[in-house]
């Protein structure tokens, strides 16, 4: 299937060409960045038709010998198609937004180069069929995002990015150590091949040790609760489209997707002792602590960052329950949170673009001057709090129903409570930023330019209409194959190797 490398070649090639073409004409970076992400979005819409089958691509033409892969394989199954769609679509919206937003920063050429490298890395992580390619693309994404967080080189951005780098570097070190012991234990790095080997020796102490190392490393990347220390500093300091990408896409691909791929498909979630309980515990912890810490924030984007921790807790909690309905809820909430959180961060970017301030006490009454921003912010906030009939309501409903069905009544009650807390702090944000009295300093602001409004409106329409993905006919196209892949568990090996 020759399309698969295109997802990685296209952004890499554009990223390498940009520094050369930047000297010719200053307008090149915006055009090339947007054309590349638009092309990738079209391509990821086109591969939805292949979601139900698993397509593989052997790099270099090295085909399987005796059903053992001797080369690098890129794998695309239902879960991959879902993640590709999320990554490329939100990336396209972010590049549209940054055409006008990055006028306030110094160098658009470098910005779009790093952004395209990040997109290439994210696509590579999702398409990787063996552990080492996963690690290399993970590092590409991480290094690009370290530089992008500190793009406007003020004192706070540098400090936030340094903290992010140290913790991210430690996480990568743990993951690499896990890969080393993984190779020692199984003798292969290919995910499908290793599944067959691990199935023979599950439950042994070395598999447990490798699982723990991977859990610590990827939980640090996903900002789950005990390992969340970098997120409230890194996400507010980044420019707004990068915050949208980081919070909406990167922590999901680098953290949640890799956890699913490794623990559900390779290790087999029923064989490692009590792994689901660990996920359940981490999810509840992130939900509760993230939600309560967000109540007391005075900085607009810092509140949104703590809210991200809380909502990712929902997804991990649903994965920890593990039934078919719960996995459907987890994957649906993954997509919908990507859409809402990007919308909310883009809104905060529009506010910063117009007023240059992020302090909740200083803003107020912006609805008179910026109607588009206010409307989309209202849609996004109500949707993430779970009000019907917006998309977020259906996701939380499915998760809570799955929790009750599995017998965790107390935990379902806690989930409902945190949903109310979410509604509380989003109403606080709406009241303090958009409604109320317009301060004297902001009498002359205007609505943001057209391209920024366009991305916000598209995301708002999506967040209202996302519920249709759960209808039975539409579900079989996109969400159904993804859930099937996660549920298949260890049968991933048979599907990939063509057994």
């Amino acid at each position: 299937m020759n399309l698969l490398p295109l997802f990685v070649i296209m952004p890499l090639g554009s990223a390498f060409l940009l520094p050369v073409l930047n000297r010719l004409w200053k307008g090149f970076p915006s055009w090339i960045g947007n054309i590349a992400t638009a092309f990738l979005t079209g391509l990821s819409f086109w591969v939805i038709q292949y979601a139900a089958e698993t397509k593989t691509f052997a790099v270099g033409g090295w085909s399987l010998a005796n059903n053992i892969p001797i080369g690098i394989i890129m794998v695309m199954d239902g879960l991959t198609v879902l993640m590709l769609l999320v990554v490329n679509f939100i990336g396209f919206m972010a590049t549209l937004f940054s055409v006008n937003y990055m006028e306030h920063y110094t160098d658009k050429g470098k910005y779009f180069t790093l952004f395209l490298l990040m997109i290439a890395g994210l696509n590579g992580v999702v398409l990787a069929g063996d552990l080492f390619n996963l690690f290399v693309f993970l590092e590409i994404t991480a290094i690009a995002s370290y530089s992008l967080v500190a793009f406007g080189v003020g004192a706070e951005e540098l400090e936030a990015s340094f903290k992010y780098q140290v913790l991210g570097g430690t996480a990568s070190a743990f993951i690499l150590l896990g890969i080393a012991f993984f190779y020692h234990a199984t003798g292969t790095l290919n995910l499908a091949d290793a599944t067959n080997v691990i199935a023979g020796k599950s439950g042994s102490p070395e598999i447990l040790f490798i699982g723990t190392l991977f859990l610590v490393g990827f939980a640090l990347k996903a900002a789950l609760m005990p390992f969340h220390a970098w997120l409230p500093d890194a996400h507010p300091s980044a420019p707004a489209p990068i915050s949208a990408m980081l919070s909406g896409v990167v922590i999901k691909v680098l953290g949640v997707y890799t956890l699913i791929r490794l623990f559900f498909n390779v290790f087999g979630v029923d064989t490692i002792v009590s792994f689901k309980e660990i996920l359940l515990f981490l999810g509840i912890l992130s939900m509760v602590v993230g939600g309560f810490l967000a109540l007391g924030q005075k900085d607009f984007k810092r509140l949104l960052a703590y809210s991200s921790i809380s909502q990712i807790g929902y997804v991990i909690f649903a994965l920890g329950i593990g039934s078919s309905l719960a996995i459907l809820g987890a994957l649906f909430y993954l997509i919908s949170h990507a859409v809402f959180k990007s919308l909310l961060f883009l809104n905060s970017g529009a506010v910063v673009y117009a007023t240059d301030s992020r302090d909740l006490n200083k803003l107020g009454g912006l609805y008179q001057k910026m109607p588009v921003t206010t409307t989309t912010a209202m849609v996004g906030s109500l949707s993430i709090s779970g009000l019907p009939p917006m998309g977020g309501f259906w996701g939380k409903l499915v998760i809570i129903l799955a929790a009750i069905e599995a017998g965790h009544h107390i935990l379902a009650g806690i989930a409902v409570l945190i949903s109310i807390v979410t509604l509380a702090y989003y109403l606080k944000v709406l009241r303090m930023v958009y409604f109320g009295v317009l301060k004297k300093a902001f009498q002359n602001i205007r609505e943001v330019p057209f391209l920024m409004c366009f991305s916000m409106i598209v995301l708002a329409i999506l967040s209202i209409g996302l519920g249709i993905l759960l209808l039975p006919q539409v579900r079989d196209i996109l969400l159904g194959p993804a859930v099937q892949v996660v549920e298949n568990g260890i049968d991933y090996a048979k599907v990939v190797l063509g057994g």
Binding site: E159, A160, F162, G169, A173, I179, Y183, R302
Partner: protein
């Protein structure tokens, strides 16, 4: 494989020393050095895993395909170590340039004083 398992223990000890440096030390540059030590320790573990006794470097010559597994050491970890070294180089270069820029803004390398973001 290596006969004695103690070599692995020493490599993990090096990893723990690097982790101690990242967690405890207060100077920015010492944190960077701790991270570098962690990466070197992992490269060492990788190279040790691929060792076979009485083996030689894995460059094929004519007539070598018969019992390749007995003659050569494992080449796969060597490729991985090469890639990991390059990644470590990129990470370290970025960290060091950030440390230099932070010094120009804050006038100190002490982590306890670089705390403008809190809450």
């Amino acid at each position: 494989m290596i006969e004695s398992q103690w070599v692995f223990v020493l490599a993990i000890l090096l990893f723990l020393i690097g982790l101690y440096g990242v967690l405890v030390k207060r100077n920015l540059i010492k944190i960077v050095i701790g991270l570098m030590i962690m990466e070197y320790a992992i490269n060492l573990v990788f190279a040790l895993i691929g060792y076979r006794s009485e083996g030689t470097s894995p460059i094929s010559f004519n007539g070598a395909e018969q019992n390749a597994a007995a003659i050569f050491v494992d080449p796969l970890p060597q490729a991985l170590v090469l890639t990991a070294i390059v990644i470590g180089l990129g990470t370290t270069a970025l960290l060091v340039s950030f440390a230099v820029r932070i010094f120009e803004k804050y006038d100190t390398f002490d982590v306890r004083k670089i705390r403008k973001l809190r809450g």
